[in-house]
Symmetry: C2
Subunit: 204 residues, 2 copies
Amino acid sequence: MSKESSYHHGNLREALLEAGTKLVEEKGVADVSLRAVAKAAGVSHTAPYRHFSDKNAMLRGIAATGFRLLAQRIEEAVELHPGNPELQLSAAGVAYVELAIEHPRLHNLMFGGVLQDDAVDDSLEERSDQAFKGLVGIIALGQQAGVFRRGDTDELALTAWSLVHGFAMLASTGTLDHRAGGQEAKLALAHRVANHLLSGLAKR
Amino acid sequence: MSKESSYHHGNLREALLEAGTKLVEEKGVADVSLRAVAKAAGVSHTAPYRHFSDKNAMLRGIAATGFRLLAQRIEEAVELHPGNPELQLSAAGVAYVELAIEHPRLHNLMFGGVLQDDAVDDSLEERSDQAFKGLVGIIALGQQAGVFRRGDTDELALTAWSLVHGFAMLASTGTLDHRAGGQEAKLALAHRVANHLLSGLAKR
DNA sequence: ACCTGAACACCGTTCAAGT
DNA sequence: ACCTGAACACCGTTCAAGT
């Protein structure tokens, strides 16, 4: 009872994001309406407009929870391997892919290009930029330690990001399904693919 | 006059796909309605149902034109470098990225995960599989010629595909914009990133 | 300050009807 | 065979009104 009444005390925003995230993960962005989210939160269909300017703004809020989760997992993965940039890179990549496999529809909302830019609220861009900077940090450390080749650090980071992002995308859209069935198979495949990046495709 | 009346002679499907592709490229999938496509083709809003079971089926048709275009460009790129797998791989990757840069919203429809599967019409999956087989062919050739390292050919191909796909995704969603502004800058960056994959990230 | 309910323009889909 | 127009349930958004 205190929970329902508390919706009127300032946490309806949270309740909407929670209900929205759940609905997105169940049915995919395309099949989630603002009205359905409002209903799931137990509120009229115009109430969300007190907390979000727009349906798009609400979706951005849901995506933001996904980015928070991603940043958190990557941080944890990196902290597991202090002073070992190669393992840090690998663990960060795996964490990235893992999120895409476990929450494919949320990942799709985050990276599928459904969200409009809106320019005003660029918190999402900031968040993704922050994740990239973490990656750059790992590469820079590895270059200093002499395990990664020299060269433009940002470019090497972007290479790693592209690979992981592409793999995650293929995994979350189901393109990999008939090549690697279960989650473990996909993660194992991700590991081997990551190794190919480290070694390079060209013959030595 | 013969053009409008010809809509009644069997090519309305084509006209819808053409109008639909144009609308998607202009406004993005999320802002294209079946009714608007019908209107743009000069026909009532229920006419499309004679040619597509569904809005999703129409979108799949539009995506298919994109996949045809992609396959065509990759084929051309490969034929430009007979007997040179390294250049073939690079050219195919550039063609892939180029399409994403030139037609970001179409690319987003093709790979953004908006399309439902529907199982019955898996022509899209076939088409993407076909493109992948072309890639595998290039890698296999390069392994025989001794320019690519030995190992599971499918895995090496998947590595290259992931990288290119991820880069294209980042390019088409605008994530790369504040790192590489124009199209040429992006393509140049794509080249350097592709080279990092060939050489590998690890120090030799 | 925060939420509701009616209203508006638009949407995807179905169906009887027209040629 | 191919297309139309009315109809239905649903949607995003606005706005006056309630507490």
